[in-house]
Symmetry: C2
Subunit: 353 residues, 2 copies
């Protein structure tokens, strides 16, 4: 057999009209029990599968929500996606997951796809510097919510974490434990997350008398990039080398960890490290990683909720209320940034483990 029977064939086989079959499918309570059972039996027997395209064409709305992330392989976004999926499943929807891989072109292609599919709404972690092309979506009446990014023009709802504060948190910790030569490792700087975290660190380090912040740019937020950055750090002579690194991302941090180890540099004795995101693997890393924790799953779930309220408002023809939700982040200190004997922590009373 090649294709599913249509509603019409089901109707014929069950001896009812197409309208009745449609009702069995969508409003089972308005059709008499006997009829409903008979139709359902025929449906099962014929192996009928409703054609979602036709449904959508007629009904004018899909059940899908588009989610576009920067890096689907990053456990941080995997967790965000899980939060989104949980929330969307609960209301009977489905998630179309796109991976822009930090590439504006791929981002654009996915958005176009979402438009053509007439998704109910879009959740996006934008990759580029300025907003991606979303006008077309809004013209179609498709609401958009930013994830992990605060839209400076406030034209969209958003769920985010204050990355500048996170950067400050990480840098303060390093400064307080006695570090003065600190490096920031991350990139590309087209990512706002990266810029904000760096800025936070700059503020803190700049406020010290003698602190200095080196910046090592990477092409992406991956372990491979972290390993390359480690090579760079290792080539510096002892006086130039930072005693601590703030990585824009746990993947970078983990790459640094193994890269530095390969060069015979110890963490935290020679170089302390603080990462960002507190992904599951941070705790289990070669040296348990200090990291700025974000509520990953909650971030996704909340973004989905925000999207739902917008969708409901649109459907009820009520005015759409934009909303900016900011979650708190907090620092989880582990061994990778533990104070060591050689470098007394100014603000930490206990200097040895």
């Amino acid at each position: 057999m090649r294709s599913s029977p249509s509603i019409k064939q089901v109707a014929a086989a069950a001896g009812v009209s197409v309208g009745t079959v449609s009702n069995v499918l969508n409003k089972p309570d308005v059709v008499a029990e006997a009829t409903r059972l008979r139709v359902n039996a025929v449906i099962a027997q014929l192996g009928f599968v409703r054609n979602e395209s036709a449904r959508q064409l007629r009904a004018g709305s899909s059940r899908a929500v588009g989610l576009l992330v920067i890096d689907a392989a990053n456990p941080f976004f995997a967790d965000v996606a899980r939060g989104v999926e949980d929330a969307v499943q609960q209301v009977g929807g489905v998630v179309l997951l796109g991976n822009s891989a930090g590439d504006g072109e791929r981002e654009r292609r996915y958005l176009e796809l979402f438009e053509q599919q007439r998704v109910r709404g879009v959740l996006i972690a934008p990759t580029g510097d300025q907003n991606p092309p979303l006008e077309s979506l809004t013209r179609l009446g498709i609401p958009v919510v930013f994830v992990d990014r605060y839209p400076e023009d406030l034209a969209y709802s958003s769920v985010s974490v204050d990355d500048v504060a996170g950067g400050r948190l990480a840098a303060s910790h390093l400064v307080e434990t006695g570090h003065r030569r600190i490096a920031f490792v991350g990139g590309p700087s087209s990512l706002r997350q990266v810029r904000d975290r760096k800025q936070g660190a700059e503020e803190v380090v700049g406020a010290t008398q003698d602190g200095i912040l080196l910046v090592i740019s990477t092409p992406a937020l991956t372990t491979a990039a972290g390993r390359m950055a480690a090579d760079e750090i290792a080539t510096l002579d002892d006086r130039q080398r930072p005693t601590a690194v703030f990585a824009a991302n746990d993947l970078i941090a983990i790459g640094l960890l193994s890269g530095l180890a390969a060069h015979g540099l110890r963490v935290p004795e020679d170089v302390a490290i603080v990462g960002y995101d507190d992904i599951e693997f941070a705790e289990a890393a070669a040296v348990p990683l200090s990291s700025v924790r974000q509520p990953r799953i909650e971030l996704g779930r909340c973004a989905a909720e925000l999207l739902f309220t917008q969708i409901r408002a649109l459907e009820a023809h009520r005015p759409v209320q934009l909303e900016q939700v900011r979650f708190d982040c907090n620092l989880v200190v582990r061994r990778s940034s533990a104070p060591t004997a050689g470098r007394a922590g100014a603000a930490s009373p206990a200097t040895r483990l």
Copy 2:
């Protein structure tokens, strides 16, 4: 504005017929240049976005491929997904990613969704013991390829790795480095991957004179489950405790690692560990993890290719050739299973590091 103009409105605005607009969209070369430019201008000006549902309804085929994995948060499957996505993108398709989370019910729901969407094909890493309900798909003429699972009835194409061999590889290594009390940690046993890996280990351990394989079942292949298994191992007294563990999965292995450390047990001195998958984080783990490496991305890419050949065959009304591709796996030895002084490795000449 609320909804995109239809092809009809574009046609009216451009002073042509709908058929011509459709041609501009799909066969630009059959329409005169002047007309084409004019129509394209109108499309841009009106912000027309093609309705994919309508296209699909009429054309009868979608451009989507369904991918259903057991755990989207597992970096192994994230990499498989990347391989799939690469291949699908190349031919202008899109991927619908589903996460069964090891739950047969969710698996069923996603398959139903894929059917309703009339996806072009389905790639599935089945969760349950027997085959998931795929008859409906084949009835619809939607080809299915198994990923990371060999279908014993050979009713579907598949891309997999010989997990029994992988299990033997891991266990042999442990036996050769002198271990006799070995534990297998993993579950649920409804997963064939788990059963096969265990079987491979059993074969090897059973072939020794004095070897013994403990089995510790876990509810899932997650770090949390690994940590719980570590608790169990830690409560055993020294004589009962295995000197080595073969984890069904790197996530389990990483969980074990941190769990054992929390109980003061050293890896590999007290307990050696070998994992499975060789995910990116295995190398960077607290103790670099020995692991059975699978070609993750290649697995996904190959599965997609297999699916494409089936789709092409179906479209050309040629008979479909099923194909079973098996990739090799190999063992990557790192510190977590390095031989230690206390336990001379029978087959390894150097017993100390």
